[in-house]
Symmetry: C2
């Protein structure tokens, strides 16, 4: 039997927890400088005057960090992923600040075999990024594609 996590191994409803990512101030400013140069992501005084209250990281950095946690988890368990084509209902729920520590939860709401590709399964999944207080800071849904072990 092929090692790793295939379509057959995905348990509908189960919540999988994984990942650990620390948000550093240096990385926050580096990311914002390149990809989201709004004052409240770059400058303490501007951030203090904004709805964030203090320097907060770009929502796109939170999303990118969630991808990093996912990719590392997939590698760790030998996940037979076949990619994803998009994201639904992404929500930034709370600011993420330098010094925060992020983890993730993934839940598969349903799964089905692809009609056109017998080697592929389709997963309806939700992803939640949580901070060190257990508070959800970002959620999104996606259709994930995963290989079938015995097509």
């Amino acid at each position: 039997m092929a090692q790793g996590v295939f379509y057959e191994d995905i348990e509908v409803g189960a919540v999988i927890r994984f990942g650990h990512a620390e948000v550093s101030r240096e990385e926050a400013i580096d990311f914002a400088t390149k990809y989201d140069p709004q004052p409240f992501h770059l400058d303490d005084e501007a951030a203090a005057r904004s709805h964030f209250g203090r320097l907060a990281i770009s929502g796109w950095q939170t999303g990118s960090m969630s991808m990093g946690m996912l990719a590392r988890y997939f590698e760790q368990v030998g996940y037979a992923g076949m990619g994803g084509a998009g994201i639904e209902q992404l929500r930034w729920l709370k600011p993420v600040y330098p010094g925060d520590t992020l983890t993730m939860e993934m839940q598969t709401l349903d799964k089905r075999r692809s009609k056109s590709r017998p080697d592929m399964g389709l997963l309806n999944q939700t992803f939640t990024v949580l901070n060190q207080h257990g508070e959800p800071v970002m959620t999104y849904s996606a259709t994930g594609m995963v290989a079938v072990r015995e097509p």
Copy 2:
């Protein structure tokens, strides 16, 4: 009259084109190392064996680069933005490769005044990232918030 682009200035249906971002190989590998360490984003040989055909950048980098183009455009025109809480229907349509040059299009499909906050307008917007061949590589929708000039 306040300078810049306010709710009153948003023209429903108009397509706004802006931005110019070059994708460098160094930045692609730097981003993937931090945020999306999948082999086809890091290694030429692994990428050649993948559906991308050659080294492609992370979809989260494309999204982050779109945020960068938006933030710079907003600063340039003095856009009275009040943030955004999420993203809908994000689709990665084509791979983006080092050497590509990206631009953006933004269209406001409809707009309305907030009922609870008279100083705020809500915009239903679509965003398209295009490569140097004019091909859409990523699209998404979002509800944008923008200040009303004369509440």
